[in-house]
């Protein structure tokens, strides 16, 4: 039995245990321990992450239509599996304590919740292990249905959003199936290797069709433009820790498949050759621009949200753009940045969702206009959110900065000012939006009804803190993650980034150990300077001054709604919901078409049918 067999077996057992024992008092902990065991099984293959092993086969395989179906892990699968299992572990941990009890008391089925979560992890591992295009498709479908399951758990509205997702996923799967059939027709096999060998000889028109079909198929899962509408609402409505899990890793499966098929097998160099007629652009530029718009538009949609979970979920869509951008640029810096961003983003997004869920747990709402001043009541949650937003905004000293730095730097090396500008516009929008998030929840005035709120229970705080440590440590020593991304780069055939523990070794490189140390020492000196001054007197929060009117406890006012009026004054009219409009157009077109087909097919219109048949027959006879 290989290490991969062990991993998949433990993962399958986790699903079974979750379904069997999920409702027990210790059920959640049991499942969490099993995730830890999955992690241990993954560590048995850690050679993959350091280029000492190239591939781990599974001993399980099936033969279908003279095609051998294989499952195996390489560096890329290992890297994504690490994040998947980590996200599963922390989410399940978070769900096992008070959150789970509350969920059960409110009528939720913990058995279903843990089962759905474990099933998600299992199906993702199966997808990550796929060894040819057919197993990739099987894994793809399994993942889609597993995500649907966990999204639909909450029922009601959530079910509607989950249905929306599954409609998108179906369309994507059809595009993917079309792509795979096209490959089969061209190559005659579902084997990875044969596609890789055949790709350089493919005609440009075939390749265009293939790239469009595959990118749309994978893009639906990634929620890149114009398929971005389903994700935020569906994730936001998923039960707490489930949202943290989905937000952290689920849609990254699209990116994984994209890397495997488009980057590794077809090759970015092939995309560069595919020029778009009458423009200066080629297929790579097109994808890069899609990525940049996927950064900008969802980020600025997030800026307008006033529900914390939706705000985060929309940022999730936006951050996908950075990963895709880095990977499409495909030089050593960019691809390392894109891959590293998958890890970094998962670490802080899961944490941010957890903080928001903890706030909901304590206050009952995630409405940014109904919170405020919780810093004094939930300081540890605040700390976690602070670390998370610094990461999400991509500022030093957190890990988000390193991956974004790599992407920016790759765009400078590549000489693409407009893409760079787009990426930075996204980052600036993120800073505005995350400040609003932390300000409206934790800063400002405490509401009367939240005076008695306490810190979140330990079962929630510990996973948050653990993730916070990961976010900080991988920001301080980015080499830890860059080792893995380098192994991935080597295995998918992209130039490997020269790096060291502190960052990037190149001219104009980055050394985070120095940067972070100097920042911490700077803060130390800042503290010193601060305490050089006279003694300060701490006053009650509401003891403050407002232009001649003293704010009193009777007139509470937390500035939260429409937080950026100046900005919205200018860019407000640019929000036109064009994509919603487009979606409605497509829906009504499909609706009309299906009604027409139904009318033709099922209702009795014999004369029309006869007429059509006669016309067809006549034309066939004559022509």
């Amino acid at each position: 039995m290989t290490a991969l067999d062990t991993l998949l077996l433990i993962s399958a057992i986790t699903v079974g245990v979750a379904l069997l024992a999920g409702n027990w008092r210790v059920g959640g902990w049991l499942v969490t321990i099993l995730y830890a065991l999955q992690g241990a099984a993954l560590l048995m293959m850690s050679g993959l992450g350091y280029s000492t092993l190239t591939v781990v086969q599974s001993s399980f395989s099936i033969e279908v239509l003279s095609e051998q179906l294989l499952w195996r892990f390489d560096a890329l699968s290992w890297f994504f599996a690490l994040i998947t299992i980590g996200a599963g572990l922390f989410s399940s941990w978070f769900a096992s304590g008070e959150w789970g009890e509350r969920y059960r008391d409110n009528g939720g089925s913990l058995r279903l919740f843990h089962g759905a979560l474990a099933l998600n992890v299992f199906t993702m591992l199966v997808l990550l292990a796929s060894g040819d295009l057919l197993t990739l498709f099987i894994g793809w479908e399994l993942v889609s249905w597993a995500s649907f399951l966990i999204m639909a758990l909450a029922g009601g509205k959530a079910f509607g959003y989950a249905m929306r997702y599954i409609s998108y996923a179906f369309a994507g799967a059809m595009a993917l199936l079309g792509g795979l059939l096209l490959i089969y027709a061209e190559v005659g096999s579902f084997d990875f290797q044969s596609l890789k060998e055949a790709a350089p000889q493919m005609q440009a028109s075939t390749l265009w069709l293939l790239v469009v079909l595959l990118t749309s198929g994978f893009g639906v899962k990634m929620a890149i433009l114009p398929f971005h509408l389903w994700q935020a609402k569906a994730y936001a409505q998923t039960p707490g820790p489930g949202a943290a899990f989905l937000g952290a890793i689920s849609s990254r499966m699209g990116l994984f498949a994209f890397i495997v098929v488009v980057v590794q097998l077809i090759g970015i160099s092939r995309l560069v050759e595919m020029e778009i007629p009458f423009t200066f652009l080629d297929a790579q530029d097109l994808l890069a621009w899609i990525a940049v718009f996927t950064i900008i538009i969802p980020t600025y949609i997030a800026l307008r949200q006033h529900d914390a979970r939706r705000l985060l979920a929309w940022h999730g869509v936006g951050q996908t753009g950075y990963m895709l951008l880095g990977i499409v640029i495909a030089n050593d810096l960019g691809s390392a940045g894109g891959l590293m961003h998958v890890f970094n983003y998962a670490s802080y997004q899961a944490m941010l969702f957890m903080v928001v869920v903890a706030v909901i747990h304590r206050t009952g709402t995630s409405d940014l206009n109904k919170l405020g001043g919780l810093f004094t009541r939930m300081p540890l949650s605040y700390l976690a959110m602070l670390i998370g937003i610094i990461g999400l905004a991509g500022l030093p000293p957190m890990n988000g900065f390193v991956s974004k730095w790599l992407i920016y730097r790759s765009l400078i090396v590549d000489g693409s000012p407009l893409l760079f500008l787009g990426a930075v516009i996204g980052t600036l929008g993120t800073i505005l939006s995350v400040y609003k998030l932390i300000h409206n929840i934790f800063l400002g005035q405490l509401r009367v009804e939240h005076v008695a709120v306490r810190e979140a229970p330990l079962s929630m705080v510990i996973p948050m803190m653990a993730l916070a440590v990961i976010v900080f440590v991988t920001g301080y020593f980015p080499g830890l993650v860059l080792d893995w991304t380098s192994a991935v780069q080597a295995s998918i055939g992209i130039p490997v980034l020269a790096h060291h523990l502190g960052g990037v070794s190149m001219k104009g490189g980055l050394d985070m150990i120095w940067i972070v140390s100097v920042l911490l020492i700077g803060f130390g000196f800042g503290t010193l300077v601060f305490f050089l001054g006279g003694r300060s007197r701490r006053v009650h929060q509401l003891d403050n001054y407002a232009g001649g009117h003293f704010l009193t406890a009777e007139t509470r006012y937390h500035y939260s709604d429409n937080f950026y009026p100046g900005l919205m004054h200018l860019i407000g009219p640019w929000y036109r919901n064009s994509f919603e409009w487009l979606e409605r157009g497509v829906i009504s077109a499909v609706d009309t078409l299906s009604t027409a087909m139904q009318g033709l097919y099922r209702n009795a219109h014999p004369s029309y049918l006869l007429l059509a048949a006669v016309v067809f027959a006549l034309s066939w006879v004559i022509v």
Binding site: F525, T527, Q541
Partner: protein, 299 residues
Amino acid sequence: MHFLELLVELLLMPILAFVIGLAMVLMMRRIGARIQRRVGPPVLQPIYDIIKLYSKDTQISHGLMHEIGIIMAVGGYIAAETLLPVPGLDGLADKGGAVTLAYMLMIPALGMALGVGQCANPNGSIGISRALTAMLAYDIPFILVIFGASYVYGTTNLAEMISIQQQQGVSSWGIVQMPLLALTALLILPAIMGKHPFEIYVAPAEIATGPMVEMSGKFMGGLFVMQCFQLYTAGVIFTTLFLGGGVYWITFLPKIFLVVAIPMSVAYLFPRYRTEDVLRLMWKWPMLLGLIGLAVVMK
């Protein structure tokens, strides 16, 4: 390089920055005074101000985050100064570069924003909302400038940019190579420094409606120190990118003071822009100039 030597450099750089920053604050006030036909403050006034603020009897703190915010604001700048090469002192210039510096400079802003948020004064929050909007306004053209300079010099390392300009003479200076980008940078300088006519987000004249509303004593003092660093940083970045940096302080200092003096002299003549007008202005002229400038240097 010797480790100890580097350590001394790292210590020296923020101190120099602070002292020069104090002188720049003095210059700024003198310019303002001359334009308004006043005498202006005496030479040591900025130092008196800081001592006064730090030693006040009434120091009102609104909670832990209020204090940490001020510490982040000052500490972030202290750290950022070590990334900014000046004559004789390269510091950590080879460990970060222009992009890192641009993002390091957001840490103090974030610290101040968090500190003000903790004060629970809606007027403070409104000020931060304006400040972040203004940051969005000026950072977009600023990033074009950074990109253009990195492209022209072929590196993001600020120390290398200086040595390239020093070796090849005035004709290789940024201002000759990319005049449009230099103009862009000059236009956004007052906004970066939070000065006229873009100072609505600081609102120094009507304390009660800006981020400073709850700042007293050493909290205000911290922001004063931050302002010194801010002026210095803006001057040095511009000089490094466009005016050849400096090998000797004697040639370097006039440059950075000149850079700060130009926008100051012009700025006091203008009335103030509203937040949305700052956005509109920044996204129109500097942006347009920056894009054309980029197109010119990249051909």
